[in-house]
């Protein structure tokens, strides 16, 4: 069973490595965007899925990462690669500092406090005009080289980021601290009684997820080559990321990634076909996922597809 999964994954990986040499620039862009979401969703799943803390505003770290890369490259002449570890570090420091007060909150309160954090950071960056360009935005140095080469560069950079997120998530699922996180999700008090230092583990999980989301933000900034507070602190991304995690299955290694592929490719399709109403369709899609497949498609359709299972999901949590 493990071997079959491994072979499937190897085929998937080879396909992704070979694809850029056959597909058009448009599809390169779509896939790069998909990897971005897969990385964010996989990284965020560490705090959301494994630990059970709905970090609704996790995109804050994405924005901070984007600005770390942006500011360091434009104002301090850093090379792109050198900024990425600092993106991760900024996420870790921020999550550790914020974690002390905020991870004491639970459920709704935690979710919304993270949104508050995101909005506050956005506004601070918006106001730090000297350093960040404020509302005018920040233009990053454009990479030199042929467009073809640049497309491929970001494709592989984002793929690398996604695989890194996947690796971290895989390790977490296998090692002892990962079990501690899951114990916290199931019953935090019981975990504490078992001798798990819950504040430390929760902060650790959040910092790890912040690091991954931060790196993807850094790559995104260089890819876009122009950022402003509203393009990197996007509430909609948070929601999409959540929908992806749920669609694929929270707290699993491959779930968020597959959710990202499915949702991003669908929304790309909708976007290209129904440009005027694509926002409405996206909203509707999210509502339908929540209603019918909140446990993820793999959990729901373990023994094959059936409408009865969809209806059973619908009834399970109804009043």
């Amino acid at each position: 069973m493990i071997n079959r999964k491994l072979i499937l994954f190897a085929i998937f990986l080879l396909l992704l490595l070979a694809l850029p040499f056959v597909i058009s620039g448009y599809w390169l862009r779509v896939l790069t965007q998909t990897f971005l979401f897969a990385a964010i969703a996989t990284g965020s799943d560490i705090i959301i899925g494994y630990t059970g803390y709905p970090a609704f505003g996790n995109i804050a770290f994405f924005g901070v990462g984007a600005y770390v890369t942006g500011v360091l490259m434009t104002k301090y002449g850093f090379s792109f690669a050198a900024t990425l570890p600092l993106c991760a570090l900024s996420g870790i420091i921020l999550a550790a500092l914020l974690g002390i007060p905020i991870l004491r909150l639970k459920g709704h309160y935690f979710a919304i406090a993270t949104v508050g954090v995101m909005e506050t950071i956005r506004e601070l960056i918006d106001n730090m005009t000297e350093l960040t360009g404020g509302g005018l935005g920040l233009t990053l140095p454009i990479m030199s080289g042929e467009p073809e080469y640049i497309y491929k560069f970001f494709y592989f950079a984002m793929l690398g980021c996604m695989l890194f997120a996947l690796l971290i998530s895989f390790i977490i699922s296998k090692v002892k601290p990962g079990y501690a996180l899951r114990a916290i999700r199931v019953d935090e008090d019981a975990a504490s009684v078992m001798g798990i230092n819950t504040p430390v583990y929760k902060t650790f999980a959040w910092a790890l997820s912040a690091a991954i989301v931060g790196i993807s933000g850094g790559i995104y900034a260089y890819w876009l080559s122009y950022i402003d507070p509203h393009t990197v602190f996007v509430g909609t991304y948070s929601v999409k990321m959540f929908a992806m995690i749920l669609l694929g299955g929270a707290g699993t290694v491959m779930g968020p990634l597959l959710g990202a592929f499915i949702l991003e490719l669908i929304s790309e399709f909708v976007w290209s076909k129904f440009i005027a109403i694509h926002g409405m369709v996206l909203g509707l899609l999210i509502i339908l996922i929540i209603l019918f497949i909140p446990k993820g498609i793999f959990q729901t359709f373990k023994g094959g597809f059936s409408f009865r299972k969809l209806m059973a999901n619908l009834k399970e949590n109804s009043l």
Binding site: Y109, N127, V239, L291
Partner: protein
């Protein structure tokens, strides 16, 4: 004198915040749903007023009942046929569901009503009450008084009517409420309908005090949120206090530190409140306690 003027401006703004917070807080306290579409629903009320004023020349204040009734119906349907299906799921499922609704509504409004900023300016828009140096625009005063009256009536409804008591009973103990013959599915729908209707009315009143577009939905929701946190969940008095506190703090901080840090201060305030006293200024332990 200037301080007094700022204080009055803050209180007038706070009255509006209180109204947008009341419905939100009520829904959260009773059904445990954080309705992230609250601001978008409020804007539907704003557009009802806008079109009735523009096309039919009806005074904005007279459109309040229309907003109330139409949005009550919409809210009732949403809760009865959509939300009730997932209401027992984990909290973030509900959070994303309402956000999906928000995305849908905002894009719906952008598509059909356009993303332009709109405003409603009746003839009496520029007139003010002068008390010495202090200026109080009649419209803002009217909006404030109506907000407080509606919040007060909502409180009376919850305390004095059978339905209101049933709502409170359901929020305290859903199983016990069922045993006394209350149908929680219906009560949830009525509560959500009421919350949405109050959002709609606040949208109607919003048109009189500022320009609006579909894009301000998120900002309104977050204001409602902060009010609910500051005041304590599910309590009308709490939302009133929370709204006034937020209005005054926001106005003062705009004056002292500058307009551009207004949101950061409001959010900072919320996070501090969450960490220090999650039950809010007026929250009580047993009433509308957070269920995980």
């Amino acid at each position: 004198m200037e301080i007094l003027q700022i204080l009055i401006n803050g209180l007038l703004l706070g009255g509006f915040y209180a109204l947008i917070g009341v419905g939100f807080s009520l829904v959260w306290g009773v059904t445990n749903i954080i309705n992230l579409a609250h601001g978008a629903l409020a804007l539907l009320g704003a557009y009802i007023t806008f079109y009735m004023f523009q096309e039919l020349n009806i005074d904005p204040f007279l459109t309040i009942p229309v907003s109330f009734v139409l949005l009550f119906a919409l809210g009732y349907i949403i809760q009865r046929y959509v939300m009730n299906l997932v209401v027992k799921a984990q909290i973030f499922i509900l959070l994303i569901l309402t956000f999906g609704l928000e995305i849908f509504l905002v894009n719906f409004m952008t598509t059909f009503f356009s993303a332009d900023f709109r405003s409603v300016t009746p003839e009496y828009a520029g007139k003010s009450l002068m008390l010495g140096d202090i200026v109080i625009p009649y419209i803002r005063l009217g909006v404030f008084v109506i907000c407080v009256i509606i919040a007060f009536v909502t409180g009376l409804f919850l305390d004095k009517t059978w339905t209101g008591k049933a709502i409170k009973a359901t929020s305290l103990d859903i199983e016990a409420a069922m045993m006394t013959g209350i149908n929680p599915a219906k009560i949830y729908a009525i509560t959500f309908g009421l919350g949405t209707a109050l959002a709609g009315v606040s949208g109607t009143l919003l048109t009189l005090t500022q320009a609006f577009s579909p894009n301000i939905a998120g900002g309104l929701t977050l204001r409602a949120f902060i009010v609910a946190i500051l005041g304590g969940l599910g309590r009308v008095e709490g939302a009133l206090v929370g709204g006034l506190v937020l209005g005054v703090i926001e106005t003062f901080s705009s004056y002292v530190i500058g307009e551009s840090y207004k949101n950061a201060i409001a959010f900072g305030l919320m996070v501090v409140m969450l960490v220090l006293k999650p039950s809010g200024l007026m929250g009580r332990k047993y009433y509308a306690e957070v269920k995980h």
